[in-house]
C-alpha cells in the first residue's frame, strides 16, 4: 500500500466487498481538529468573569458539579459555547463553498457582502415586523439571497471575473451596511448603544433558544453541504472537465450557492455579521489537511474553533468588560487578509 520512501497520499480500507478510500492526512487533521475543538470548548466553559477551573467546568457540563457552577455553565456558558461552535461551523462551511466556487480565496461571504445582506434582512425583520425567531431567520435568509443575487448578477459580464466579483461585493456590502446602520438608528438598541455590538457580531447573551435554532438549521443543511464536496472537487478541475465527468455544473453551482447563502443567513441571524470567520476557515483547513479540495468538513471544525477562540479572547482580554467576538475576528482576520493579498499579488493571481 505504501511505496518505499514516498508519503502515501491515501489509504484504502477493505472489509469484505466494501472498500473505502480516504486521505490519511485529512483524517488525522479531522481527528486533531476535533480534539482541538474539545480543548477550546473546555477553555470557553472555564473562562470568564466568574472563574472556575477546567475540572469544575467539566463536571458542571456533565451535570455532576456543584450548584453555583452548574447555573453559570448550564444557563450562560454552555449555550454560548454551543451557539459559537454551530455558528462558526456554518460560517466555515459557507466560506469554503464560495471560495471553492470562485476558485479564489478572497471570495468569501463576508467580503462579498452576503453577511451585510443577511444582517440587513434580519434587522429589517426586527424593525418592521417582529422579533419573533422565525421572522428574523426568514428575514436573514431573504436578505442573504437578495444580496447574493445582486452581487452575482451585477458581476456577470460574459462570465464572472474574480476581481470584479470582489469589488462589486465590497461596494454592495458598503451600501447594505449603511442601510443596516440607518435602520438601527430607528430602534431602541441604537439609543442604548448596543447597535455597534450588533453590527460587529457577538455571542453575548446567547441562550438555549439560539442553540436550538442553529442546530435545527445545521442538521438540515450540513448533510447537504457535505454531500456537495464530491461535486465541488470535480468542479475545481475546470468547467469542461467537470462536464465531461458527468456533472451538471450550473445546477451544482446554483445548489452550492443556495446552501452557502442559507448557512450564512443561519449564522448571521444568530450571532450577527461576524466578519472573517468564513474567510479564514477555508484556507486554514486546506493547509492543515494539506489538500487542495474544498475540505468542507475540516472547514466546519476550523470555523467553530476560530469563533470560539475569538469569543474567549473577548471575555478575557479586558478585566471588566466583554468584548464582542467580532472585534477579535476582525483584528486578526484583517491582517491575514492583507498578507493574503500581498502573496496573491506577488504570485500575480490578482
Amino acid at each position: 500500500m505504501v511505496s518505499h520512501g514516498a508519503k502515501a497520499p491515501f489509504s484504502v480500507w477493505r472489509l469484505g466487498p466494501i472498500s473505502l478510500r480516504f486521505e490519511q492526512r485529512a483524517l488525522v487533521a479531522a481527528v486533531g481538529l476535533t480534539f482541538g475543538l474539545l480543548l477550546v470548548s473546555l477553555l470557553s466553559l472555564s473562562a470568564g468573569s466568574y472563574p472556575m477551573n477546567a475540572l469544575e467546568a467539566l463536571k458542571s457540563a456533565l451535570g455532576v458539579g456543584d450548584q453555583a457552577h452548574d447555573f453559570i455553565v448550564h444557563q450562560i456558558r454552555l449555550p454560548r459555547l454551543l451557539t459559537g461552535v454551530l455558528a462558526g461551523a456554518a460560517f466555515g462551511v459557507s466560506g469554503a463553498i464560495f471560495q471553492s466556487l470562485a476558485r479564489n480565496a478572497l471570495a468569501s461571504p463576508d467580503v462579498l457582502g452576503f453577511n451585510a445582506g443577511c444582517s440587513l434582512g434580519a434587522v429589517a425583520a426586527i424593525v418592521f415586523i417582529s422579533t419573533d425567531v422565525l421572522t428574523v431567520t426568514l428575514g436573514a435568509v431573504l436578505g442573504g439571497v437578495i444580496a447574493a443575487a445582486l452581487v452575482f448578477g451585477l458581476a456577470w459580464q460574459n462570465g464572472i471575473a474574480p476581481f470584479r466579483l470582489i469589488l462589486i461585493g465590497i461596494g454592495i456590502g458598503a451600501m447594505l451596511y449603511a442601510s443596516v446602520d440607518f435602520l438601527l438608528t430607528r430602534t431602541d438598541i441604537y439609543r442604548a448603544g448596543q447597535a455597534i455590538e450588533w453590527l460587529i457580531g457577538s455571542l453575548n447573551a446567547r441562550n438555549w433558544g439560539h442553540v436550538e435554532r442553529t442546530s435545527i438549521g445545521l442538521v438540515l443543511l450540513l448533510p447537504i453541504a457535505l454531500s456537495l464536496q464530491y461535486g465541488l472537487n470535480r468542479l475545481a478541475l475546470g468547467d469542461d472537465l467537470a462536464t465531461g465527468l458527468g456533472l451538471s455544473i450550473n445546477r451544482l453551482r446554483l445548489l452550492a450557492c443556495l446552501v452557502g447563502v442559507l448557512l450564512v443567513a443561519l449564522a448571521v441571524s444568530v450571532v450577527g455579521p461576524i466578519a472573517f470567520v468564513a474567510f479564514v476557515a477555508g484556507p486554514i483547513a486546506r493547509r492543515i489537511a494539506a489538500t487542495s479540495s474544498a475540505a468542507l468538513g475540516t472547514s466546519a471544525l476550523v470555523g467553530a474553533i476560530v469563533l470560539t477562540a475569538a469569543d474567549i479572547a473577548g471575555r478575557v482580554a479586558l478585566p471588566e468588560t466583554d468584548l464582542p467576538a467580532g472585534v477579535f475576528t476582525a483584528i486578526l482576520g484583517a491582517p491575514y487578509l492583507l498578507w493574503l493579498l500581498s502573496t496573491q499579488f506577488r504570485k500575480g493571481i490578482l
Binding site: 451585477l154 461596494g171 464582542p324 487578509l337 502573496t343 499579488f345
Partner: protein, 345 residues
C-alpha cells in the same frame, strides 16, 4: 456610448465652452445652496432667508433657525463637499485608480481611529485639537494602504488598492468599535460626529478648520500641472520633468488636510470622493486644472443634495448624509466597476 456633438474646433472655443459649463455649475450650486437653507423639517420661505441675512431680527424664529442652524450647516456642507471632491480627484489622479476614495481606501477609518484614541486617552473634545489627530490618522492610513496595495509585482493596481483598503477599513473600524463599546464617555463624545452628519454644524467648529481646508486647496491647485504629467505614467512624468518625491509628498499632504478636516467636521463620509471625479471628468476632461475647480463645485452640489434628500425623505427625522451617500454611491461604484474594461484596470 460616445457623444459626437462637437462644434468646438479651437482651444479658445474649448475654453469658452468650459467657462460656460462652470458658470452653469456655479448657478446650480447657488440654487442647491438656497434649497438647502429653505428646505427642512420646517420649510422657510425665500424672502425670510434674504431678510435673515440683511435685516436680522432676533425675535423671528425663522431668522434664528437660518442663522444658527441652516447657514452653518450650509457652510459646512460646502466645505466638506468641496474637500472630498478635490481629495477624490487628487487620489484618483496620483494612484491612476478610478476607484480611489477616502472611505474605500481606509483613510476615513484611520482618521476615526486616531480621533477616538485622542478622545479616550487624552480627553480631548474640541475640534481644533481633534483635527490634528484626524490628520495623523488620515496620513498614516494612506501610507499603510499604499504600502499594502503596492506589494508584489505590478505595483498598486486599482483592485489591489481597493482590497487593501477594504481590509484596512475592517481592521481599523473593529478597533474603533472595541474602544467605543468599552468606553462609554468616549462613545458619547464620538457619537456626536460619526455616521457623517452635517447636523451638528456650528461656526465655532468650522472656523478653526477653515485655514487647513484653504491650504489643502491651495496645494492641490499648485501641483495640478505636475499631476497632469504624472497621469501619463510615472516614467513619462519623470521624463517631463516632474519632481516625483515632491509631487507625491504634496499630494499626500493635500489629501491629508482635505480629508482630515472633512472627517473632523462631519465624520467619515464615503463615496463622494469616488463619484465626483468621474462626473467631473465626463464634463471637463482629464486636465486637472479645470477638473479641480469642477470637483470643488460638484462636490458641494452632490453633498448638499444628499443632505436635502436625507432631510425630506422621512420628516421630521433625517437620514444622515453619510448614509445617503453610501446608498447612492454604492450603486454608482458598481456601475463604474462594470464599465471599466479589463485592460483599463
Amino acid at each position: 456610448m460616445t457623444w459626437t456633438f462637437s462644434p468646438i474646433e479651437t482651444p479658445g472655443q474649448l475654453r469658452w465652452w468650459r467657462i460656460l459649463k462652470m458658470l452653469c455649475l456655479a448657478s446650480c450650486l447657488g440654487m442647491v445652496a438656497l434649497a438647502a437653507v429653505a428646505i427642512g423639517a420646517k420649510a422657510i420661505p425665500l424672502g425670510d432667508i434674504v431678510n435673515a441675512v440683511y435685516a436680522f431680527d432676533v425675535s423671528n424664529p425663522n431668522h434664528v433657525i437660518i442663522i444658527d442652524l441652516r447657514l452653518p450647516r450650509l457652510v459646512q456642507g460646502l466645505l466638506v463637499g468641496a474637500s472630498l471632491g478635490v481629495a477624490g480627484v487628487l487620489m484618483q489622479s496620483i494612484t491612476r485608480n478610478p476607484l480611489a476614495d477616502p472611505g474605500l481606501l481606509g483613510l476615513n477609518a484611520g482618521a476615526a481611529l486616531a480621533v477616538v484614541l485622542a478622545i479616550w486617552h487624552l480627553d480631548l473634545s474640541s475640534q481644533s485639537s481633534l483635527v490634528w489627530f484626524a490628520f495623523a490618522g488620515t496620513g498614516t492610513a494612506s501610507i499603510l494602504v499604499y504600502f499594502f496595495g503596492a506589494a508584489g509585482r505590478g505595483g498598486a493596481t486599482p483592485v489591489r488598492l481597493a482590497l487593501a483598503g477594504a481590509a484596512l477599513n475592517a481592521m481599523l473600524f473593529s478597533i474603533v468599535s472595541a474602544i467605543l463599546i468599552t468606553q462609554r464617555e468616549t462613545m458619547d463624545v464620538y457619537r456626536f460626529w460619526i455616521a457623517g452628519s452635517l447636523g451638528n454644524a456650528e461656526t465655532a467648529t468650522i472656523a478653526p478648520l477653515l485655514p487647513y481646508t484653504v491650504l489643502g486647496f491651495a496645494i492641490a491647485l499648485a501641483i495640478a500641472r505636475d499631476l497632469n504629467a504624472l497621469s501619463l505614467g510615472h516614467d513619462l512624468g519623470r521624463s517631463l520633468g516632474t519632481r516625483m518625491v515632491r509631487a507625491h509628498a504634496l499630494t499626500l499632504i493635500a489629501v491629508t488636510l482635505l480629508c482630515g478636516t472633512s472627517v473632523a467636521m462631519a465624520g467619515p463620509i464615503g463615496f463622494i470622493g469616488l463619484v465626483i471625479p468621474h462626473i467631473g471628468r465626463a464634463l471637463f476632461g482629464p486636465d486637472l486644472r479645470p477638473l479641480l475647480l469642477a470637483a470643488a463645485t460638484l462636490g458641494p452640489i452632490v453633498l448638499l443634495t444628499a443632505d436635502i434628500a436625507g432631510r425630506v425623505v422621512l420628516p421630521p427625522g433625517e437620514i444622515e448624509v453619510g448614509i445617503v451617500a453610501a446608498l447612492v454611491g454604492g450603486p454608482l461604484f458598481v456601475w463604474i466597476v462594470r464599465r471599466i474594461r479589463l485592460g483599463h484596470l
